[in-house]
């Protein structure tokens, strides 16, 4: 998964988009559904290979990491850390809902236990679960267009009864020009804003446009000083990706 998948998942776009779900009968319903469909199409690909930089800021520290990510569809991904040197060669593999990690310093592959899935991933404001979770907007949420301005649509996403997502509500702003998300706000059940993800700096990669800067801002008071920025420096979509990346052996093999 990693990056592509996580990207997609984070924003809840990752779907292999099959048949449109049952639509609510609101006046905007068709509109919202269409919008999300296009967004998903624009963010989605059969495969993705990316290079990216992640900057994690807290009240007192700032760290930069570089990594590359390979993914196929929605449920397989592989990430390798390139920088800093101390962490170079650490690899992550996610297949379906499980996650493994290889650490060259200890020459060990570790399966991340369920109890750790909600812990922070590499100290960032993303959790392990964000990377693994296969939830998808089309399957897990009902969509409703809240507002339309000159530049953006605002779509409200409410989890369906069956969706195993912690959020009570997500509000996504979508750029009319690119049909890509600009901001995604995550709320709890009491409508309290928990975190906000902003996508900016849209650039062309081959035949598609893609947001290259993501900013995650936690909104809970105790984490208010934190933020995580991901910048995508290079991306290739829909190229052939070697299946051998998505095995446990790859963790060690591609670590070097």
């Amino acid at each position: 998964m990693l990056f592509k998948k996580s990207l997609i998942k984070l924003a809840l776009f990752g779907l292999v988009w099959a048949v449109a779900p049952v639509l609510p009968l609101s006046a905007f319903a068709d509109g919202a559904d269409e919008i999300i469909k296009k967004v998903e199409h624009n963010l989605n690909g059969k495969t993705a290979v990316m290079e990216l930089t992640m900057v994690v800021k807290t009240k007192r520290t700032e760290r930069t990491m570089k990594m590359e990510s390979y993914s196929i569809g929605n449920n397989k991904s592989f990430i390798k850390i390139l920088y800093p040197g101390k962490d170079k060669g650490i690899t992550f593999l996610t297949v379906d809902n499980s996650m493994w990690q290889y650490v060259p310093r200890i020459e060990k592959t570790i399966k991340i236990p369920t109890s750790m899935m909600l812990q922070s991933w590499m100290g960032s404001d993303f959790s392990n679960d964000d990377l693994v979770n296969e939830s998808s907007i089309s399957e897990d949420y009902t969509q409703k267009l809240l507002e339309e301005t000159d530049k953006e649509y605002r779509v409200e996403l409410l989890p369906t009864e069956d969706a195993a997502v912690v959020w009570g509500k997500i509000i996504m702003a979508v750029s009319k020009m690119y049909y890509l998300p600009t901001t995604v706000q995550y709320f709890d059940e009491e409508d309290m804003l928990i975190r906000e993800l902003a996508y900016t700096d849209i650039k062309p990669f081959g035949d598609r446009f893609y947001p290259t800067r993501w900013l995650m801002l936690p909104k809970e008071p105790q984490k208010a000083a934190n933020k995580t920025i991901i910048e995508i420096s290079n991306a290739v979509f829909d190229a052939e990706v070697d299946e051998s990346y998505f095995t446990k052996r790859a963790l060690k093999r591609y670590s070097k």
Partner: protein, 406 residues
């Protein structure tokens, strides 16, 4: 004059006086010993719970206890160290850095606490070193040598000399991982603690966790552990508002409550025993007073006022009570003193104690002269009070009635 008379009366009825005195003395001894036992067992429980690991006094970042994240660390451990070194009420202190990591021996990972400690100082601050079961305790210049809880070692299938890896995050949130070698295995007896904890020498820990000059806690051993709360307040004044200094009463509020709960039951029990004692003393006084009813009648007949008789009888019972209470206090105190130095051992009760988070089965009694004095005063009051009814009753007889009373 009254006093002499009272004394004479007591000595004249040696048998009766001594039985009453003996009774009161036994009761006093019982009370003194019971309270010594209650206080002693609570002290032991608290002491053992506190001394195993948490310590009497903890210094942390201001918000660390509410929200134990790396954002609320002690970021200048040297400054705190300097401050604490100047304090004359501190017996010893040391820094710790606790972090949650994944341990892994094979692919299966187990979450747990990996803590950097100052091994030499920790000897005075906790029972870690004395809980050694196998292998060796840490020393300051150890590198990747880990001192691991018995149950955690069992979960990871580790013995002394085996390797275990951990992954976690450093104080700067960077990725941290290392291979560690088991140097020693400890068992404090607290299952949860033994199943989750492992320790490294802080020097090495700080390097791999990027935690130099950082700490999550300072643990302080006061010279007088009883004054931990006062010392905590005094330290708090000195180290500044970005830190919190808390004594065990705060850090282990649950334990304090448990002890209070236990005291409630102890006092209910003692209360019931006292009711019985009250009756017994009353009966003995009753017997004593009525045996002298003729004498009282005669005294009245020759013109002694009921007030004077009341005073005389009360003085007698007070004197007698005083003597008995002193004897009882001495006996009870002697027992408390003996069992203070030769604790009673409850083998096989460990499970129950563990429920309260304790790992001690030897319970010394408390030996506190002030408490003994308190109990003696209580008993004195109780025994004088229980003589009131018979004394008042006998005083209600008219002189002629009393003289002819059979």
């Amino acid at each position: 004059m009254l006093f002499k008379l009272a004394l004479r009366n007591i000595t004249a009825h040696k048998k009766r006086s001594s039985v009453t005195a003996l009774l009161t003395a036994i009761m006093t001894a019982l009370l003194v010993f019971s309270s010594a036992w209650i206080d002693g067992s609570h002290d032991t429980m608290i002491q053992s719970a506190v001394e195993i690991y948490p310590g009497y006094l903890q210094i942390t970042g201001k918000e660390f206890r509410a929200n134990p994240s790396y954002d609320h660390l002690i970021f200048d451990a040297a400054a705190i160290e300097q401050e604490l070194a100047q304090n004359n009420d501190i017996a010893s202190f040391g820094a710790r850095f606790e972090s949650f990591v994944l341990f892994s021996a094979d692919e299966k990972a187990v979450g747990g606490m990996l803590t950097g400690i100052e091994p030499e100082k920790e000897v005075h601050l906790s029972r870690l070193s004395s809980s050694l079961k196998k292998g060796e305790y840490l020393s300051a210049d150890d590198t990747n040598q880990v001192y691991i809880g018995h149950e955690l070692a069992k979960r990871l299938k580790l013995g002394v000399g085996d390797e275990v890896a951990f992954v976690g995050s450093g104080a700067d949130y960077s990725f941290a991982a290392d291979n560690l070698k088991v140097k020693g295995i400890f068992q404090t007896g607290l299952f949860d603690f033994d199943a989750n904890s492992a320790f490294l020498a802080k020097g090495y820990f700080d390097r791999i966790m990027v935690a130099e000059n950082y700490a999550t806690h300072f643990i302080v051993l006061p010279k007088r552990p009883g004054q931990a709360a006062e010392l905590a307040a005094a330290i708090a004044d000195n180290i500044g508002p970005q830190y919190q200094s808390a004594s065990w009463n705060q850090t282990m509020a649950g334990l304090v409550k448990a002890m209070k709960l236990d005291s409630i039951f102890s006092y209910i029990t003692l209360g019931i025993i006292f009711i019985v004692i009250f009756f017994v003393i009353m009966i003995y006084t009753f017997l004593a007073v009525f045996a002298r009813i003729r004498e009282i009648g005669i005294l009245r007949a020759i013109g002694t006022t009921p007030k004077q008789i009341l005073a005389l009888l009360l003085l007698e019972s007070s004197l007698l009570a005083l003597i008995s209470v002193v004897i009882g206090g001495l006996i009870g105190g002697a027992f408390a003193h003996y069992f203070h130095h030769n604790p009673i051992v409850f083998a096989g009760m460990e499970e129950q104690f563990k429920q309260y988070g304790l790992a001690a089965s030897a319970m010394p009694t408390a030996f506190m002269p002030l408490m003994i004095l308190r109990d003696m005063v209580v008993m004195f009051g109780l025994s004088v009070l229980s003589t009131l009814y018979p004394i008042l009753k006998v005083n209600r007889f008219r002189p002629v009635e009393a003289i002819h009373h059979v």
